[in-house]
């Protein structure tokens, strides 16, 4: 089984909401100071899923990431978890694209990697929450795509996926190769062990520039965009919380209950 996992470096989505800032002039997010970037949440689940499949079937896992200023500590995390190879599309020409141009660049790199049975992505990136690159790559490669997976099983040349739906799950069977996107209902990503971390330190990523992929720069980055960002803004949340105070927590609980009756909420 040869597996490709797409992982993206993002600003830490779990940084406190109060640290989130937008520069209105450039329509861009100001990275929070002192909070290092991380791998996008669901991409770590995708790495975990890949390792679990490989543990049963054997084979090779390649992680693929597109971006700039990719911190080696961040993008090497899949290696330390058990991924075999890391390919970076790291060049200014790749960035500031949209879901379409990112899908296209990743698709081109996947074709160059060539030998794949399964491609895994996160359900949506933790910054733009677009949810398009998985189905996008599947479309470009002409593969079946199953989104929101919580469990994967490979049996011979068939794949069985449990897909999360609002009131339960679907069990779907697919041919291979296929593309699957992972949701957090899948078992949590493992912590890298010391051996994994040492291996990752020694392993150097392969970096592909647009020319290595024979990519027409008109199709990637800002010039490849089909969508345009008009405005990025923060919602105003009015704060008007009435705090019920008391000497003890027990009394506060009582008073809160009474309060809800007084204001006719109950």
């Amino acid at each position: 089984m040869n597996i490709i996992v797409c992982v993206k470096q993002v600003n830490d989505p779990e940084a406190p909401p109060s640290s989130f800032k937008i520069d209105p002039n450039s329509n861009k997010v100001v990275p929070p100071v002192g909070v290092p970037p991380v791998l996008s949440t669901f991409d770590e689940y995708a790495v975990e899923a890949a390792i679990r499949v490989k543990e049963k079937t054997g084979g090779k896992i390649t992680a693929l990431s597109l971006g700039i200023n990719l911190l080696r500590d961040v993008v090497k995390k899949p290696l330390s978890m058990g991924v075999d190879e890391l390919v970076l599309l790291e060049d200014p020409a790749y960035i500031d694209g949209d879901s379409w141009s990112t899908s296209f660049a990743l698709f081109t790199a996947i074709k160059k990697i060539g030998n794949y049975d399964l491609i895994l992505c996160g359900r949506q990136s933790a910054d733009w929450d677009a949810g398009q690159v998985g189905p996008g790559i599947a479309e470009l490669l002409g593969l079946p795509c199953i989104t929101l997976a919580r469990k994967l099983e490979v049996e011979g040349n068939r794949l069985k996926v449990e897909r999360v739906i609002p009131d339960g799950f679907e069990l779907i069977e697919s041919t291979l190769p296929a593309l699957v996107t992972l949701s957090n209902e899948h078992p949590a990503p493992r912590y890298p062990n010391v051996k994994g971390i040492m291996m990752a330190k020694r392993k150097e990523p392969i970096v592909w520039k647009p020319s290595d992929l024979g990519l027409d720069v008109a199709k990637i980055g800002p010039s490849g965009r089909r969508t345009r960002l008009i405005k990025l803004y923060q919602p105003v949340r009015e704060s008007h919380c009435e705090i019920v105070t008391a000497d003890t927590p027990e009394e506060a609980g009582l008073k809160l209950g009474q309060k809800l009756r007084d204001v006719k909420v109950l």
């Binding site: 359900r123 949506q124 733009w128 739906i165 679907e170 008009i230 704060s239 927590p249 609980g253 009582l254």
Partner: protein, 330 residues
């Protein structure tokens, strides 16, 4: 004039009826078609369709395309893609809309790229730009910390809409329209996925329908803690929800997660216990009418959106709070 004209919405049908997001699509599509002074058409997806095509006309569609084929019963994207692709080629619409549903999230990006265009998913507002007549698509980004307004510069312009974010269609029984039957022409040899089973795992009141939700976070600390929340939810005839860490820890089941990647709810009363109010969580509950917060940290973000609250250890405050509520509800 562009060769791309009109608004096309894909409406899902369940057990012969239009789903609620389909009614919102019909309302939104008709409004946008009105602003663009263009035609408005719907395609219905599902099987059987029963009276749904007539209902779509009552809800404002001028033309309704149907492909009632038993092969489309399982709502698998794989079988729907070619049928939808065909209709898009035939209609050549300027705008294509669908709900951000199990199907919409898969189908719309694929159809957009297949049409050499692009999409914006999970929109909470759609409007027409007065000058360019392009569709302005607003969606939450950065876990709900921000909103982005985007346009699609290619045609057709594709979008999915978030359930309950836009006004449903207003029915008018006097409306007339045309129903056009299509051959699905499913090529089963090209279908690569198969639905083995679909299972419901929800017991009791659905979160989306609950008038009261008691939601616990990481600070609840255990499954036993959630039992206490459940007890009060029962008294209030409501349901229990949970933040993501509480689900990840298996204190509550995965399908009661509330937030950006869980359920989006808007009950009359939302009681948030021992959860911090991350932007991803608030994305799922900020539409609640009244939010009550119990948190031991006065600086917790939840107090920024709550209407009433106490700063306390929930373990100490809960018995008296729950007891009082029970007494009042008698």
């Amino acid at each position: 004039m562009s060769e791309y004209q009109g608004v096309l919405v894909f409406c899902e049908v369940f057990e012969g009826r239009l789903t609620s997001v389909s009614l919102e699509l019909l309302g939104t599509g008709r409004r946008l078609a009105g602003e663009l002074k263009t035609s408005f058409q719907a395609m219905l997806l599902g099987s059987p369709l029963d009276k749904a095509p007539d209902e779509a006309i009552i809800c404002g569609a001028e033309k309704v395309y149907v492909a009632d084929d038993p092969g489309l019963k399982d709502s698998l994207t794989d079988s729907y893609l070619p049928v939808m692709e065909k209709i898009i080629k035939q209609v050549c619409p300027a705008v294509v809309l669908m709900g951000q549903t199990n199907m919409g999230r898969d189908l719309i990006p694929r159809l957009a790229y297949r049409s050499n265009s692009a999409a914006v998913l999970d929109c909470v507002a759609l409007a027409i730009d007065g000058d360019t007549k392009r569709l302005l698509m607003t969606k939450p980004v950065f876990g709900g910390n921000a909103y982005a307004v985007q346009i699609c510069e290619t045609n057709p312009q594709f979008a999915t809409i978030r359930a309950k974010s836009m006004a449903p269609a207003i029915r008018d029984e006097s409306r007339k329209g045309e129903i056009i039957k299509l051959q699905a022409d499913l090529d089963l040899s090209r279908v690569q996925t198969r639905l083995i089973e679909r299972k419901t795992e929800i017991a009791g009141i659905k979160l989306e329908d609950a008038r009261v939700i008691v939601c616990g976070g990481r600070g609840i600390g255990s499954a036993e803690g959630f039992k206490q929340l459940e007890e009060l939810a029962r008294v209030l005839k409501g349901a229990v929800g949970a933040s993501r860490p509480a689900c990840d820890n298996k204190w509550a089941s995965d399908n009661v997660q509330i937030g950006l990647t869980g359920k989006i709810v808007s009950p009359e009363l939302y009681i948030a216990v021992a959860l911090s109010g991350s932007s991803q969580h608030l994305s799922g509950c900020s539409g609640s009418k009244v939010i009550v917060a119990i948190n031991k940290d006065a600086e917790a973000n939840i107090f920024k959106v709550a209407h009433y609250g106490i700063v306390a250890d929930w373990k100490k405050a809960w018995p008296s709070f729950a007891g009082k509520v029970k007494e009042l509800m008698k």
